[in-house]
């Protein structure tokens, strides 16, 4: 799929995500907008997956460690055929399987339950290690937030991935520079990430994580070492008034803001 087509799909996913946040009155829209280009590249270009066989043993694994952006994953999975697109309107409704954080026993395409931060990468290390042990050819991808890298469990996993020589593992850090309460740099600044990962023995790429032409080749990069993509993104990407504003971690747009955001996203479709 051509980068332009991927961009078009990403905008459609952004639009549906925005609508769902507005309708549900909740969500994590800032981090959803920053990650949607990466999710789109994975699900519409890179991942070897079969939506009608979500447990196919040879499927590539994708773990959304920043589970609070579940809605972006649900919209992407629905668009890719894992669940009915109409079901997105049940997001957060009583008894909906579309919880605020993804549930692997209810939602096809979800690999493991996430929500508490610092959980996805250790599990992804186990998935990649399993492929090494069994000779399976699948590749494992995991997306973390940048604030999430403050969790010590991630660094346990980073060290073991290098020790195990997991060339079949790709970590993408959604580096949007903001966490829930403030900028990373004003909280516990783990950035810059590249040198730290390299020091642990990882192969590292730095890209613009909101540019398809850079995302796709980075995701397709292979070596004999685990690969970290430091994806420089913008919180709230695609919606001008949200961009790089910490408030938009989980704020819900007003009716007026919603119309502005709809217009901005629609105009580039």
């Amino acid at each position: 799929m051509h980068p332009n087509d991927l961009d078009r799909i990403a905008r459609q996913i952004r639009l549906r995500d925005l609508q769902a946040v507005y309708e549900a009155g909740a969500g994590h829209i800032g981090g959803e907008m920053s990650a949607i280009d990466i999710l789109t590249a994975l699900y519409f270009r890179v991942l070897r997956i079969w939506p009608d066989q979500p447990k196919h043993p040879d499927r590539d694994r994708f773990v959304l460690s920043k589970g609070h952006v579940a809605l972006a994953l649900y919209v992407t999975l629905a668009k890719r055929g894992f669940l009915p697109e109409a079901e997105i309107s049940t997001f957060l409704k009583p008894h909906s399987r579309l919880n605020g954080h993804p549930n692997c026993n209810k939602v096809p395409g979800v690999e493991t339950n996430t929500g508490p931060l610092g959980h996805g990468l250790p599990v992804a290390v186990g998935m990649a290690k399993a492929a090494k042990l069994t000779g399976a050819s699948y590749h494992t991808y995991v997306l973390t937030g940048d604030g999430e890298m403050q969790e010590g469990s991630n660094w346990e996993a980073i060290s073991s991935a290098a020790q195990f020589g997991l060339g079949n593992l790709t970590l993408i850090i959604d580096h949007n520079r903001f966490q829930q309460g403030a900028a990373l740099r004003d909280t516990n600044n783990m950035a810059p990430f590249a040198d730290k990962l390299a020091a642990f023995g990882w192969d590292v790429s730095e890209i613009n994580g909101n540019a398809m032409a850079e995302i796709v080749p980075a995701l397709e990069h292979r070596s004999d070492r685990p690969h970290c993509i430091v994806a420089h993104t913008n919180k709230g990407h695609g919606i001008s008034f949200m961009q790089d504003k910490v408030d938009w971690h989980h704020k819900v747009p007003s009716a007026e803001q919603y119309q502005i955001a709809l217009a901005e996203l629609s105009e580039v479709l």
């Binding site: 493991t112 399976a136 469990s153």
Partner: protein, 322 residues
């Protein structure tokens, strides 16, 4: 059936665990062991010698260990995640909750050296909270076998069971109580001795002490029923209700805090289904003083004579209720 009380042969249940694990490993290449630099304390040396690649040692990193276990299961393997129970359950509690129980990952968590097995190393290394932490988690059977025979049978069952399991093992020697060929049935207690005056319920390292207490009670004309209740979750409601109705008093003992463990699980059933006098023996809500596991169990009123005395008091309470 009564346990031998003189010159009994004691077994380290870790030996039974690894014997079955290695047999399962030979039969099924999907069986892998995961540990936190605990090859020695988990007795995984034999497994490692046979299948070095299938021994996944993450080093001293328990959160990662449990997460890696979940990922290995996702990749189609059958992981036995082994570590000192205090660290496996305490350090990794959120991983056990989210990655294993909530995700319903087919991972077998094996807490080694549970209870006060590390005795003199002190309360940091005691695991007397693990029943409480583990048994509140949905999807996660919690099992503390009483001897090497039940340990072997429980490991066999855990491997066949599709879903997570927490096995709580000790390193403290215990005599064999169950018959050879015993088949483990989750959520089902074994009646080791029948009686009508009082019921003694225990698991793990306390079951043989309960049997010895029952022998002491029998010499005084008090016939106690002894239930070995390895499964703390799901708890055996039927056996507890029958014990309450048939014997009218229940005494529990466990190598665990009196808060939140086996006794609490039994009490939850008793108060709701068949209220009778009850007493819970265990660590009385304190950090234990220095001493071996055996010393501390005696110290906290769980020597066979002290158990017998507590049972007699319960029988008296029952009688005074008329």
């Amino acid at each position: 059936m009564n346990a031998a009380t003189t010159s009994e042969k004691l077994h380290d249940c870790r030996d039974a665990f690894v014997a079955v694990l290695e047999r399962l490993g030979a039969e099924n290449s999907r069986v892998v062991a995961v540990c936190n630099d605990s090859v020695g304390s988990s007795k995984l040396g034999g497994f490692k010698a046979k299948w070095p690649d299938r021994l996944v040692n993450v080093g001293i990193a328990e959160q990662n260990m449990v997460g890696v276990g979940a990922g290995l299961a996702n990749g189609g393997l059958l992981p036995f995640v082994c570590g000192a129970s205090c660290f496996l359950t305490g350090r990794s509690l959120e991983q056990v909750k989210a990655d294993i129980a909530y995700s319903n990952a087919n991972v077998k968590l094996v807490g080694i050296s549970s209870g006060m097995a590390y005795g003199e190393l002190g309360p940091t290394h005691h695991s007397i909270e693990d029943f409480a932490w583990m048994r509140v988690l949905p999807n996660l059977p919690v099992v503390a076998p009483c001897d090497s025979i039940e340990t072997a049978a429980a490991v066999e069952w855990a491997a066949r069971h599709e879903g997570p399991v927490f096995l709580r093992l000790s390193r403290v020697g215990v005599p064999d109580l169950l018959p050879k060929g015993h088949v483990f049935v989750p959520g089902k207690a074994n009646t080791l001795r029948d009686g009508d005056a009082v019921t003694l319920i225990a698991n793990g390292t306390l079951t043989h002490r309960m049997m010895k207490a029952a022998t002491l009670l029998a010499a005084r004309g008090i016939e106690a029923r002894v239930l070995n209740m390895a499964t703390v979750r799901p708890i055996d409601v039927d056996s507890i209700v029958a014990a309450a109705r048939d014997t009218g008093a229940i005494l529990t003992a466990e190598e665990h805090s009196v808060y939140g463990g086996l006794g609490s699980a039994v009490a939850e059933v008793v108060v709701a289904e068949a209220p009778v006098p009850m007493k819970i023996l265990g660590v009385p809500g304190i950090f234990a003083p220095t001493g071996s596991a055996e010393f501390l169990l005696d110290e906290f009123g769980m020597s066979p004579p002290a158990i017998a005395e507590a049972a007699e008091e319960l029988v008296a309470r029952k009688s005074s209720r008329g």
